[in-house]
């Protein structure tokens, strides 16, 4: 990882007057909000990606006479969560922080509503992903602004050579690196086909690997799969819906599927599936492009055969797990007008394009109109490998726990209810009815939230 020449804490001095009209933020125009602004942002794993954000904030800060300071805070060891919790508790800290998924709901009592910024952005860029809306809105108000940085989805990432050789499926043809998809082919990519090919791959010695531990990779994809079967844990009115045919259908499906996975999936952390794919042992995982990016470095032969593409279709639709990040402006922040102006600036199309490029296509904005960025067409090898990373076609983003009330859904997510249910059935060999009863008990506890 190249050491950045500027120190992580970039202190910017104001030099020029604010250029009128460059930043179209009505709440700043007349006051030329000067002063300081501090940000705590997720530390990107792509080498150099942080520098693009620093540069963008530099430029904005110069034009607006604001001194912007950025601390890059890692999610390793959940340091970002620790810091946010401590700041919220102490009512003091950075002005703006990036928050992962549920943390906006967790901290909403001390966050500043951002409706003005969001509405301005929607007016220009169109609707925001429903998952982001669900995670950031409370009492009808937006408390978080979806970021580009760090936001991701977890679609399939498969070895096209193995699928072709052992299953006769040409994934690059079903999901080509251009908008011309054959609807019949796309329709054929269902969970039934996935199961059949998983069995073939397992027998050939190159199984697929679905993490079934308690980290976000596992929770995101498993939740999306349950949703594809139409299974709901708790609905938005706090009614328990876990005991349903859909849930049973999903669990039955997993019972068949998990036997074609390596046994270690129950202990995988977020990097477990990456390492396994990179080692060449696996035929497919569900992950953002980080696995492919590291394979490029460590095992080029594997990287050249990786193809990111849509999730399979289930009875209730085609869903992919989304994990958005959000910017939150603390209610105790010192310089709110400037904060809002900066956030709007960073979310506009041109800035988002630069951030996506810096992340080699890993970052996924929440505006569907931004999916036409050319980064996803250009990175290689193989060319077009991540074209289908943003959800195109009929693929819909999903978050595990939806549609329950966010406080309850956050518990469902963070306590890995779905993956533990699957693990109990498949690894622990417990009968499905018993597992559903256990889930009911857990959900009752979560409804307390």
């Amino acid at each position: 990882m190249p050491r950045s020449n500027m120190s992580r804490r970039s202190l910017l001095k104001t030099t020029a007057l604010a250029a009128a009209g460059v930043v179209s933020a009505p709440y700043v125009r007349h006051s030329y909000a000067a002063g300081k602004l501090t940000l705590g942002v997720w530390d990107h794993w792509v080498p150099g990606a942080n520098n693009t954000l620093t540069r963008l904030c530099n430029e904005w800060g110069e034009k607006n006479k604001v001194e912007v300071t950025i601390d890059y805070i890692t999610s390793q060891g959940d340091k970002d969560l620790l810091t946010a919790s401590a700041e919220a508790q102490a009512r003091a800290g950075h002005d703006i922080m990036s928050h992962r998924a549920w943390q906006i709901q967790v901290h909403r009592a001390v966050l500043e509503p951002l409706d003005d910024v969001i509405n301005a952005l929607i007016a220009k860029a169109g609707p925001i992903s429903p998952v982001s809306e669900y995670l950031a809105k409370a009492d009808g108000k937006w408390f978080g602004l979806p970021t580009t940085i760090g936001s991701q989805v977890k679609p399939c990432c498969s070895r096209i050579d193995l699928y072709k050789q052992h299953c006769g499926i040409d994934l690059a043809a079903i999901f080509p690196p251009n908008p011309n998809r054959d609807p019949k082919l796309v329709d054929s990519w269902s969970w039934d086909l996935y199961l059949k090919s998983a069995e073939q791959l397992f027998k050939a010695g190159f199984p697929v690997g679905l993490p079934m531990g308690q980290t976000s990779d596992a929770i995101d994809s498993t939740g999306a799969m349950f949703r594809a079967f139409g299974s709901v844990m708790v609905d938005e009115k706090d009614t328990m819906k876990v005991d349903s045919n859909e849930t049973r259908a999903a669990l039955e499906y997993f019972k068949k599927l998990m036997q074609f996975n390596p046994p270690e999936v129950y202990a995988w952390d977020d990097a477990g599936n990456n390492r396994w794919l990179i080692s060449g042992k696996g035929a497919g995982i569900m992950n953002p492009p980080s696995a492919w990016a590291v394979a490029k470095r460590d095992n080029l032969k594997v990287a050249e055969q990786c193809w990111t593409h849509d999730m399979p279709r289930g009875p209730a639709g085609r869903f992919v797990g989304q994990l958005p990040f959000f910017y939150g402006l603390w209610s105790f922040a010192q310089n709110k007008p400037a904060g809002k102006a900066l956030l709007q600036f960073l979310s506009e199309k041109d800035q988002s394009r630069q951030l996506v490029a810096a992340s080699v296509g890993y970052d996924l904005p929440s505006f569907k109109s931004y999916y036409d960025f050319d980064t996803w067409q250009k990175v290689e090898p193989p060319l077009g490998t991540v074209y289908n990373y943003p959800p195109r076609g009929d693929e819909q983003p999903s978050i595990t726990g939806y549609p329950a009330r966010p406080d309850v859904a956050a518990q469902i997510y963070n306590q890995s209810l779905h993956t533990i249910m699957v693990a109990k059935v498949c690894q622990g060999n417990e009968p499905i009815d018993k597992v559903i009863a256990w889930a009911k008990g857990e959900l009752e506890g979560m409804l307390r939230a």
Binding site: M1, P2, R3, S7, R8, R9, G40, D43, H44, W45, D71, Y72, I73, T74, S75, Q76, G77, K79, L82, T83, S85, A86, E87, Q89, A90, A92, G93, D217, D270, A271, N274, R275, I278, S279, G280, K281, N287, S290, A291, A293, V294, R297, D298, N299
Partner: protein, 298 residues
């Protein structure tokens, strides 16, 4: 003893011979099990050394023997660690923090131990025994209210905050060791000094510290080890790379999202283990002697 043996009629030579035969057998058994334990204790560090000397590709490669280096020793991981990361900054910060914390800890502990072992004041008995109980609330919980205190003092994101909070981890145990040790010093020495007209401070400096030096060194080593290896407080209070310490810095700069750099991580772990090893190597004997009286007597 040998007199007794003679009294019971056994010739001296036989007694000595059977004792030494027992000793040889005991020695053999000792070495056998010691080797087993040594293997247990040293396997992970050996593996870490080997991994740190391999290239990234070899680490990720499955077919090669993980216990030896197949594709040539490379110092690349160490070079990258020192040149491309902020590892050396973390190292410097950790040394500053640790030296300060050890100094503070020793001053506070020695003074307090002297006071609690020799003098009576209201609550001193409770304090001496209860000092242990300060470990009951774990740092994984304490960091939350401490965040507010650290913030209030303006020390957030500065390694001086570590100098402030680490003593909470080291002082209680060190004080407790010192109390035990001081209590074992015969009171005649006190009286002699008093008759001499020595004040408390002089008594402490001239008599107690020299006599209790092994115990003091033992406590110093404990304080050093704990400060060096602390993890929870740095991760909670320090954000920027230029303020970060070794443990957290190594982990957070070499593991990002789902991307790990194993070779560099192992290299970093070993370099981070070097200073404590050096400290131990020099002060080991004192450490052993020092922990003797402190714990068993008094």
């Amino acid at each position: 003893m040998t007199a007794q043996a003679i009294a019971t009629g056994q010739p001296r030579a036989t007694v000595r011979a059977s004792l030494s035969r027992n000793r040889r057998w005991a020695l053999f058994v000792s070495y056998f099990f010691l080797i087993l334990f040594a293997i247990f204790f040293l396997t992970p560090p050996y593996y870490m050394i080997i991994t740190s000397l391999k290239s990234d590709a070899e680490v990720a490669h499955l077919a090669t023997n993980p216990w030896i280096i197949s594709n040539g020793i490379t110092l690349e991981q160490y070079r990258l660690l020192f040149q491309d990361t902020d590892f050396l900054i973390y190292f410097k910060n950790t040394i500053i923090v640790t030296l300060c914390v050890v100094a503070i800890t020793m001053v506070v502990s020695v003074l307090a131990a002297f006071s609690l072992s020799r003098m009576r004041f209201w609550g001193s008995g409770i304090l001496a025994t209860g000092i242990f109980l300060t470990y009951l609330v774990p740092d994984t919980l304490l960091f939350i209210p401490l965040f507010q205190i650290v913030r209030g003092l303006g020390l957030l994101n500065s390694y001086w905050s570590m100098v402030l909070v680490y003593p909470t981890l080291t002082v209680p145990f060190c004080t407790w060791i010192m109390i035990g040790y001081f209590q074992s010093i015969p009171k005649e020495l006190d009286e002699a000094a008093l008759i001499d007209g020595a004040g408390h401070l002089q008594m402490l400096l001239r008599i107690f510290i020299p006599v209790a030096l092994p115990g003091i060194i033992a406590a110093t080593i404990f304080a050093f080890t704990v400060s060096w290896a602390a993890f929870v407080y740095p991760i909670a209070f320090l954000f920027s790379a230029d303020q970060q310490v070794l443990t957290v810095g190594t982990v957070t700069s070499l593991i990002k999202a789902d991307v790990y750099k194993w070779g560099m991580l192992m290299a970093g772990a070993l370099v981070a283990a070097a200073p404590p090893l050096v400290v131990y190597a020099f002060l080991m004997d004192y450490y052993i002697a020092g922990l003797t009286a402190g714990a068993t007597k008094g």
